[in-house]
Each structure stands twice: as structure tokens, then as C-alpha cells.
């Protein structure tokens, strides 16, 4: 069994959905630094996804520094490292902008948006 769950939505990118689910598991502590991360084979078989996609997922998470791959041994969750400037830029620029655009489109109050963000923040910590 996998240490995290992926709720696949039809039509969305498989790769992105798995990467997102893994990141969520890491930040919520379902996966802790030093824990083993499933192999490409296990990811592919448990999620019923193409092995090449599973390979891409592991490579992307390793690239972002979330996983440490030790050849011949396996893959583990990395020790927490301060985020890079680039990662901060993506989060505070693009991702936040996306949420604000959606909020404005739906005429959501800024305070309500902040409150919703705080709720999620607390739920995930």
C-alpha cells in the first residue's frame, strides 16, 4: 500500500496529480524525513499508471529536493531544506495570483479569502 492517496480526476495531468499528492503527504507529515518513498515499480502498480510517468514523478520530486535517491538503496524523503528563491517565487507569484484571480472572479471578500487560507493552513499543520 502507498503511504499517500491520489484521488485521480479524469482529464487532469496524471503526473501533476501524483506529484501534488506526494507533496501534500510530505508537508502534512504523513511522510517524514528519512521515510522510504515507494519505488517506481510500486508507484506504477499501486496507482495503475504508466511506469515512465512514475519515473517522471520520482525524478521531479528529487529535482525539487524533496526526495533523496541513493542508487542501489532506494529513495527516501529528504531532510527539510530552506526553499530556494525560485520556489518562493513560484508560490508567492504565480500560485497566489491564481487564487486571487479566482477569488475576484467569484466576488470573494479579501478577508474571507484570508480566513479560508488560514483554515487550510491550520488543517495541514
Amino acid at each position: 500500500m502507498l503511504p499517500f492517496r491520489v484521488q485521480f480526476k479524469p482529464g487532469a495531468h496524471t503526473y501533476e496529480q501524483v506529484v501534488y499528492a506526494a507533496k501534500k503527504a510530505i508537508i502534512t507529515g504523513a511522510l517524514k524525513p528519512g521515510d522510504n518513498f515507494p519505488s517506481v515499480r510500486v508507484l506504477s502498480q499501486e496507482l495503475r499508471i504508466n511506469p515512465n510517468t512514475a519515473q517522471k514523478v520520482v525524478a521531479a520530486l528529487a529535482e525539487e529536493g524533496l526526495l533523496t535517491v541513493t542508487p542501489g538503496v532506494g529513495t527516501a524523503i529528504s531532510e527539510v531544506r530552506p526553499p530556494t528563491r525560485e520556489q518562493l517565487g513560484t508560490l508567492l507569484g504565480d500560485e497566489v495570483e491564481r487564487v486571487v484571480v479566482e477569488a475576484k472572479r467569484l466576488h470573494v471578500d479579501c478577508d474571507d479569502l484570508l480566513q479560508a487560507i488560514r483554515q487550510h493552513w491550520n488543517r495541514l499543520s
Binding site: F8, P10, G11, A12, H13, T14, R41, S44, Q45, L47, R48, I49, N50, P51, N52, T53
Partner: protein, 301 residues
């Protein structure tokens, strides 16, 4: 990149109708190739030619480096084939069928067979004729996987299966990818069945191949472009060939760009429909790309 299946101008006529018409495609080793098309598009006829069950009227197909019309026991011992309407020795029990198949394959892996048997939850002592459709499909797949074929050909494997059995079949199929030198060629009329499995896609329609490409390359060249247009804006009389299903709806324009080039595609949209603003380009999933293509082909025919 080695190709496991390679066809050139493969054609099969039945009377005056070309069921498969000048089909050229390549299936690279290590891929899960989804062969998609509506019912009656020519998928099964193609597969039957690949496996020398039908002779091509013209053109050729190479399987594992051998011409399809010369395939013999040596090649068939490395190919697994399961079809929607599989002929099976109905009078045998599951166990008898396994014993019947085993001596035909030098690479038969008894431990793997036992593992699959357990995973598929198949009763050894039941006769095939008394099994449900899903059970029969699993039994057929089991005897096609147990010798770890280099090429697994599945013709509409999911049709009429309940979700649980479908899931077991996919899981079983993925067991094969543990070894080296595997390739899966899987036909389906439904993108949803194979979206997360396929990394190569071929689309056949009315006997003609419309597309044969890696999912990564498709996703790189397809984008959905959206923009805001002025009141009364119209589509150009002859839109660029790379645009699929362009539409203007009140104040917005939507185009599926099939040859996306960052920056250039946005500019050409703004030029084609003057006054277009705020153009965004979003990535498309395999499913969205397939649906856009399906709509386009239908519009053309």
C-alpha cells in the same frame, strides 16, 4: 529507439472496402501504446494482421523484427495476445488450461504464474465455460502473461468488465513492466480507459491512421488558447491549419492550437482576429487532446 511493431502502408480490403488503409506506424520498445478509435475503425483488423491471423492486401508489418507473414512459434512464444472475443478451451478447468499452455512457452515462469493466479483470485478447479466474462478475461491474461512476453497485445481488454476486474487486469498488465524488454499494445475505443497508462497514442479512424505519437510530444504541441475579443469579432475565413475547433462565443475566442510555439501562437491569434486581448495558453491532458481530435475528424468526414 528499437521498435517492436513497425508497419508500412499496411492495407486490408474486404471487397471494395478498405478496413485498414495505408497504415504506417511504429511502436517503440518499453512503451504502453494505446491504439484508439471508434468501433469499426479498423483496430481489430490491424491487430489480426500484426499477428498473422489475417493477410494484408498490401503493405507490410514487422513484429519483433520479423515480417508478420513469417511469424512462427519462436516469435509467438514471446508475444501475448488477449482479445475481446477470445476463443478458449471452454471444457477445460483453469488449472488444466495452465498445464495445457505451459509446455508451449520456454520462458514460462511458474512462480510468476502462481503470483498472478493469487492476484486474479482465479479458481483452479472451475471449468472455463462456467466462468463469468471477467474471470475468463483474467484467465486469458494469466496464460498470456505467465511466460513474460516481450510484446503484449490486448484488443479491447476492458469491454464489458466491471470496475473491479478492470482494475485487476490493469494491475496484472503492469506486473509485466517489472522485467526488461516489455511493450504493451492495447486497443480501445475509450480514452478514459487508458489515459493514465499510455505513453504513446495512435488514433485510427475509418481505416486511416490519424496520429501516432508519444504522449509527451502531443502534450508539448497542443495548447488551448483563450482570449477576449471585441464585440462582433469573427473567425478568419480560412483559419490556420494548425487550429482545431476555433470558436467565438460573445466576447471570448477559444482555439485548440496543435502546433504551439510559445509567443508566436499567441501573436498569430491576435493577428488573425484583430483586437484579441489577454490571450492565455493552457496545457491539455491526453483526454482533452483526444476529444479535440475526435471532434475535428468528425467535422471533416
Amino acid at each position: 529507439m528499437n521498435s517492436v511493431i513497425e508497419t508500412h502502408g499496411l492495407t486490408r480490403r474486404f471487397g471494395r472496402t478498405a478496413a485498414v488503409d495505408d497504415l504506417t506506424l511504429c511502436v517503440p520498445e518499453g512503451s504502453i501504446f494505446a491504439f484508439l478509435g471508434p468501433n469499426g475503425a479498423g483496430k481489430t483488423t490491424t491487430i489480426k494482421m500484426l499477428l498473422n491471423i489475417l493477410q494484408p492486401t498490401s503493405g507490410s508489418a514487422g513484429i519483433l523484427g520479423v515480417d508478420s507473414t513469417r511469424l512462427g512459434p519462436r516469435e509467438f512464444a514471446q508475444i501475448g495476445y488477449v482479445s475481446e472475443n477470445q476463443q478458449m478451451p471452454e471444457w477445460m478447468t483453469v488449472g488444466q488450461m495452465i498445464e495445457f499452455c505451459r509446455p508451449m512457452y520456454p520462458t514460462w515462469d511458474a512462480a510468476f504464474c502462481a503470483k498472478l493466479l493469487q492476484g486474479f483470485d482465479l479458481p483452479l478447479d472451475r471449468k472455463l465455460k462456467s466462468l463469468s466474462r471477467g474471470m475468463k478475461m483474467k484467465a486469458a491474461l494469466l496464460t498470456s502473461l505467465a511466460y513474460r512476453p516481450r510484446l503484449l497485445v490486448l484488443d479491447e481488454p476492458f469491454t464489458g468488465l466491471d470496475p473491479l476486474v478492470r482494475d485487476e487486469v490493469i494491475r496484472g498488465m503492469l506486473e509485466l513492466t517489472e522485467q526488461e524488454n516489455w511493450t504493451v499494445f492495447i486497443s480501445s475505443h475509450d480514452i478514459d480507459e487508458v489515459e493514465r497508462l499510455a505513453d504513446w497514442v495512435g488514433v485510427i479512424d475509418a481505416g486511416k491512421i490519424r496520429l501516432a505519437e508519444s504522449a509527451a510530444s502531443l502534450q508539448a504541441r497542443f495548447r488551448r488558447l483563450e482570449g477576449v475579443v471585441a464585440n462582433g469579432a469573427r473567425l478568419p475565413a480560412s483559419p490556420p491549419k494548425s487550429w482545431l475547433i476555433p470558436e467565438i462565443n460573445e466576447h471570448s475566442v477559444r482555439v485548440v492550437e496543435s502546433e504551439y510555439r510559445p509567443g508566436l501562437s499567441e501573436t498569430s491569434l491576435a493577428e488573425a482576429i484583430s483586437g484579441t486581448e489577454g490571450i492565455s495558453a493552457s496545457e491539455m491532458s491526453l483526454r482533452e487532446i483526444f476529444l479535440a481530435l475526435a471532434r475535428t475528424f468528425r467535422l471533416k468526414s
